[in-house]
Amino acid sequence: MGYLEKIVKHVLEFTVNGEPVTVLVQPHEMLLAVLRDHLGLTGAKEGCGLGECGACTVLVDGVSVNSCLFPALEAEGALVTTIEGLMVDDGRLSPLQQAFVDHGAVQCGFCTPGMVMSAEALLAETPHPTEKQVRAGLAGNLCRCTGYNQIIEAVLAAGESSDSNPKPGNEPGKERP
């Protein structure tokens, strides 16, 4: 492989939180690095970098993924949502975010963006989840501070107060993330 081939960068275009972006990325870069280092969206965190902790969770076309394992080039043309994109237009927190605040579900906050994004994906599919469904939905997100109960209460409360219907999600036959 020649020198030029080794440093080759690709033009990647996708939409993040409603805004189209174009970035130059190397083939081995993950979506998390592109969000944080190229776009300055530092909400999603790098904990383990290996799919274990969920701190890097974002939505790609409405589906939650570990952005630390998600090759950036696979985001071509996708709609990516990060924690920065959840705020309501006038700068208020979303009802789910507010529920985290109200229930003391945030301590150091490192896990919070990932937790909220996993909860967001869960509530989009199951607007009124049971506690069991919340626990299963958040199983891929670790928190070393809260002991989880406050987080589960926050998500249950957000579920109770929501009046939304399930949104179409990650169905077979649809373009996969």
Partner: protein, 293 residues
């Protein structure tokens, strides 16, 4: 950091062509949940990754000709949510529900799980127990292989480097049948199996006599395995808890459990003895209730 070329073919033909052209320098990537971890931890041996993510027509679950057809690019999440899988391959539905996390299941594929060929691959025992065939496609044509001949060692399979696993074909028995799968792990989520047990039972119309059985295990040998002698001992017998005690023991004798950081051999064997019986009873109960899952 070592980098690689990342190619995203738009069709199976194009993907096969890239594999053939680049030979051993190329490696397939589907959901990437094994490949990207390997890249980050060990620096990946391949120079070129050929991504299958755009081959969306290989993502399906459908029934036809007395079989369930599962496309290789089907995600674990698709399995978990499929009413067809719950009804026809309940052991596989059991497995999908206890694998990894939502985020991983959203991208991880069945072909990736099987081709990665870890002894702990959770879809392997239920697919083995269901009598699954895999379809391997190469530029030279395609071949169908029984899954029980697919694994040759830890992370080794009979797949040639120029082949892509495109489909799983799972036969639907004509008479009453059901299945159950147990993953034994320390945690309920985000943990690899210490050992696992899948049982598939086909019954005569009396719902007592066993017509055919298949029993498969994960992490009980260098590869996921079936235990054919134990299966044979069930055939034609009336299934009772007492008979099943012996079957658990027999199945255990066909395994090659060993000590590892996740658990000791004697403990794995103990779980197999007990869980073969319990999963057979669960399958029996599902069969009698007429609703597999």
């Amino acid at each position: 950091m070592k980098t690689f070329q990342y190619l995203r073919p738009a069709s199976l033909a194009e993907a096969l062509d890239l594999l053939a052209r680049h030979g051993p320098a190329a490696r397939l990537v589907a959901g990437g949940t094994d490949v990207m971890v390997d890249f980050k931890k060990n620096g990946l041996e391949a120079d070129i990754l050929v991504s299958l993510r755009r081959l969306t027509d290989l993502r399906y679950i459908r029934e036809g000709n007395g079989q369930v057809h599962i496309g290789g690019l089907t995600t674990l999440r698709d399995l978990e949510r499929s009413s067809l899988v719950a009804r026809r391959i309940p052991g596989l539905a059991d497995a999908a529900r206890v694998m990894a996390s939502v985020q991983i299941r959203n991208v991880a594929t069945v072909a990736g799980n099987i081709c990665n060929a870890a002894p702990s691959a959770d879809t392997a025992p239920p697919l083995l127990a269901a009598g699954t065939q895999v379809r391997l496609v190469s530029p030279a044509g395609s071949r169908d292989i029984p899954l029980d001949q697919f694994f040759t060692g830890p992370r080794k399979t009979i797949r040639r480097p120029d082949e892509i696993l495109t489909e799983f074909v799972v036969p639907i028995p004509s008479g009453p049948y059901s299945q159950a799968f147990w993953k034994h792990a320390r945690r309920k989520a985000m943990d690899l199996a210490m050992v696992s047990v899948a049982v598939h039972l086909e019954l005569e119309d009396d719902l007592v006599t066993c017509r055919q059985a298949r029993i498969a295990h994960g992490v009980a040998a260098p590869t996921p395995i079936r235990t054919p002698e134990a299966e044979e001992r069930l055939k034609g017998k009336k299934i009772t808890p007492e008979l099943l005690e012996g079957i658990g023991e027999a199945s255990c004798e066909e395994t090659l459990c060993r000590d590892s950081i996740r658990g000791q051999a004697w403990y794995r064997e103990e779980i197999i003895r007990v869980m073969v019986r319990r999963m057979a009873l669960r399958a029996l109960e599902r069969c009698r209730m007429g609703r597999p899952a």
